[in-house]
Assembly symmetry: C2
Homo-oligomer: 478 residues x 2
């Protein structure tokens, strides 16, 4: 983003006024549109509010903008010859639209992370630079020559990647499949989006875990689905609850995250897995299994997915490159009956005309390379180390104030704040103190829970991050 040049002889307020005039003339702020408040702009440009006040005064004097108390500062319509012409009422268009905006908390977190790069980030659900296979991926890109023609890709995804996944899934996840049963997606998010858009209709009832990252995805509401809760305990969801929800609400699909569940870290109990599949087959109910974390199992023995013991094809299996390697590559996959794969591939063609070949090629090479096993071993050890740093810091800094169960895999720690606390007050105070996390209410839980992603910050940020969090909590409780 543009910032005024402090070394210039031109006064800051003048530089700011010129920049705003330029943006208006480019159509970034059409006539009649609202400009940022003086405080917000001062914040963005890192100048005193009084400087922005001056810049706005300058523009008002020129008739370029106009301020009315209460309604803020707007681009003047007259100056820009917009009468009798009318700029489209973009506000109305933006407010409309069938697709729901993201949750306020998530927008706030994104905005804070974009603004202040120095924040210690316990919020982003991804691997940090220290444990992502950056070197390996670069080596693969360097060693490889993309000599082939880059035309539109196969709607189901790049064939060599699907072939590489057939052996990867068999070797690492106990899933026997064929390349024609695999759909490459840009990640678990796209897999879920395609399922909610193409296999379900508005008004359908579905069961999701409570708490669950699904609550952080307005896509479920955007698709007009009715959501019913499957409470998650230490051993995951209870299969009986699925039967009950089916009887009560005729749920049409079950979404679960059985291995190191996001956010709780719970591992679905072995007997419950079998029982869950029995209930599903008894009711003819599809299960969507999202399995991003299992290979992070700290003891090196990853739990096998439901899909590996699904004898009759009840399970749609979702996997991803993001949580074990690189979220920025945007590569995920789904294993499903061929008719489902075809339907979803066809719909995806219409939404984005398919995926870029380059990242798929990199992922295919990674799976075929010797790097994968050594990377996974290294990843597990680092995650365990970071987890323990976080746990120790929480115990030292907040004895008696927090409680949590210790995850055996995954990127997150799910932490209960024992005294009553207001999520948004705590978040704002933490941001002020230089640390950020995701409040549990984003995942549909009550106020007073925190998801710490220990995978994202560098190891040496964890202890300072927790003390910043601790002082934020204490000051909110005080």
């Amino acid at each position: 983003m543009w910032k005024p040049d402090r070394s210039s002889n031109e006064p800051l307020y003048q530089q700011i006024a010129d920049d705003i005039e330029r943006r208006i003339s480019y159509g970034e702020f059409p006539p009649g549109s609202l400009l940022p408040s003086e405080r917000k702009l001062a914040d963005q440009l890192e100048v005193n509010r009084s400087t922005v006040v001056l810049a706005y005064a300058e523009l008002r004097a020129l008739g370029i903008i106009e301020s009315r108390t209460g309604s803020g500062t707007r681009v003047s319509k007259y100056k820009w010859g917009a009468t009798p012409k009318h700029t489209p009422n973009w506000h109305r268009y933006v407010e409309g639209g069938s697709f729901l905006p993201n949750l306020t908390f998530l927008r706030r977190i994104r905005e804070a992370l974009q603004k202040d790069k120095s924040l210690i980030d316990f919020a982003s659900g991804e691997l940090g630079a220290d444990i992502s296979p950056v070197k390996e991926i670069n080596t693969l890109i360097d060693e490889n020559h993309y000599t082939e023609y880059l035309g539109y890709d196969d709607p189901q995804g790049f064939v060599p990647l699907r072939e590489a996944l057939v052996s990867y899934l068999s070797q690492y996840r106990g899933i026997q499949t064929t390349e024609s049963s695999i759909l490459i997606t840009s990640g678990s998010q796209q897999s879920l989006y395609l399922i909610t858009q193409c296999l379900l209709t508005p008004g359908d009832a579905v069961a999701i875990e409570d708490p669950s990252y699904c609550y952080s995805l307005p896509m479920f509401q955007s698709a007009g689905l009715r959501l019913f809760r499957l409470p998650v305990d230490q051993q995951g969801v209870r299969p009986e609850d699925v039967r009950t929800l089916y009887k009560k609400h005729r749920i049409k699909m079950v979404f679960i995250n059985p291995n190191y569940q996001n956010p709780t870290g719970a591992l679905l109990d072995a007997e419950r897995r079998i029982e869950l599949l029995n209930v599903a087959s008894e009711l003819g109910l599809p299960i969507v299994e999202d399995d991003p974390f299992s290979l992070t199992s700290y003891d090196g023995t990853p739990p096998l997915p439901l899909k590996s013991i699904d004898s009759i094809g009840s399970v749609l299996y979702i996997g991803s490159f993001s949580k074990i390697a690189a979220s920025g590559l945007r590569v995920g996959w789904m294993v499903a009956p061929h008719s489902v794969v075809e339907r979803l591939a066809d719909a995806r063609q219409q939404m984005d005309f398919g995926l870029s070949v380059v990242p798929q090629k990199v992922a295919a090479q990674f799976f075929k390379s010797p790097y994968i096993q050594s990377h996974l071993d290294r990843l597990r050890m680092h995650l365990l180390y970071k987890r323990d740093l976080l746990i120790e810091a929480l115990r030292n800094e907040l004895p008696g104030l927090v409680s949590f169960s210790i995850p055996q895999g995954g990127l997150h720690l799910w932490c209960k704040i024992i005294p009553e606390v207001n999520d948004s007050k705590l978040l704002e105070e933490a941001i002020r103190n230089g640390v950020i996390f995701v409040p549990g209410s984003v995942y549909g839980s009550d106020s007073g829970y925190v998801r710490f992603t220990f995978a994202r910050p560098m190891a040496d940020e964890i202890v300072p991050g927790v003390s910043k969090f601790a002082s934020s909590l204490r000051s909110v409780l005080a």
Copy 2:
């Protein structure tokens, strides 16, 4: 796809039977699901139908599959112990879903192209390998080191690419903008999808060109929009028609493709452009301008987009890397008021959690490299050459049977078949003869039009392709 091994001692039918049993056991074909017809499977595996008949007989004997006359061949439920267990009725799920499937013609074309790689392809709307900057892109990938961490990208897209686009758009398209007004998408398709999902609501009326590639996108119907037609003549759409549609149906948005329109190749007349913007501003009506082809202008003087003369911000501008460089990279962009960019970026986060950084980085480098100008010059010359090859061949092969106007830019020739002809008969006959195209009815026109994409086939395929097309047409007319 798997094919039987003709060198093996094991009889073909046995290999096929084993493969089908394997796929069934993997869940690709769940119990009760329909298997491909004997003819279709024989086709796919390139064996005689009698071989497949034998393979199916073998599996029937083992009770693995069952055939009932009329209802085809299905996977047996008993054999697979699926009773009293129930596999989800995937068929019902696949048939349901709010998102509409692709048009039959397009699915047929895709299927034919996947099956027979030797087809001469006048159907795929993209550049062929001979005119795509494959070498340049590979050089950029090789020269560059992706040393940075691959985390989730900025929701609006990779900042260096947006910065590169600011100068590209100013230098090549006469559009002045800032990186904060740009949304990077995976291509024009995703841009349109985001607009229809986020800025419009079911029941809204919109105006699209007739004929138009928009008719090839069920996304418009999936979004529940009511489509009204703006007939396209030699000079493009008539601004008066927009006013009429507004009065009649209160259209909320206009979608146009003013430069070398797809499929007609029409170039919107200069005076009509100004009039169109006047009508839009008079009615406060947003115009979505898709501008993929303008830089292909054969005379080297690309028409400027509406956006470059849009003084009040009525135009949402859509651009893409696909039609001028590489469709397989999946990089596109939108220029819009900031509030629109923010809304669409937010929604896109929920659909696919953003784009891969790698292709965006390649595109940014391409725009900043010296390659772009020389590539565009070369591209124009090759397209002109291919266009002329196509025109000459059509005139030689089908005198008096076809008529068309000569495009001055773009990848397509829009051709009317003078005698009455059935689109699907012609398409099937052409596929049998080794050539493929898109029937005009896909774009909402009457039967008897053909879109030839001369950019896609190699130059030396064009003349043989046309004679295959000609003999197909003659035999259908006969």
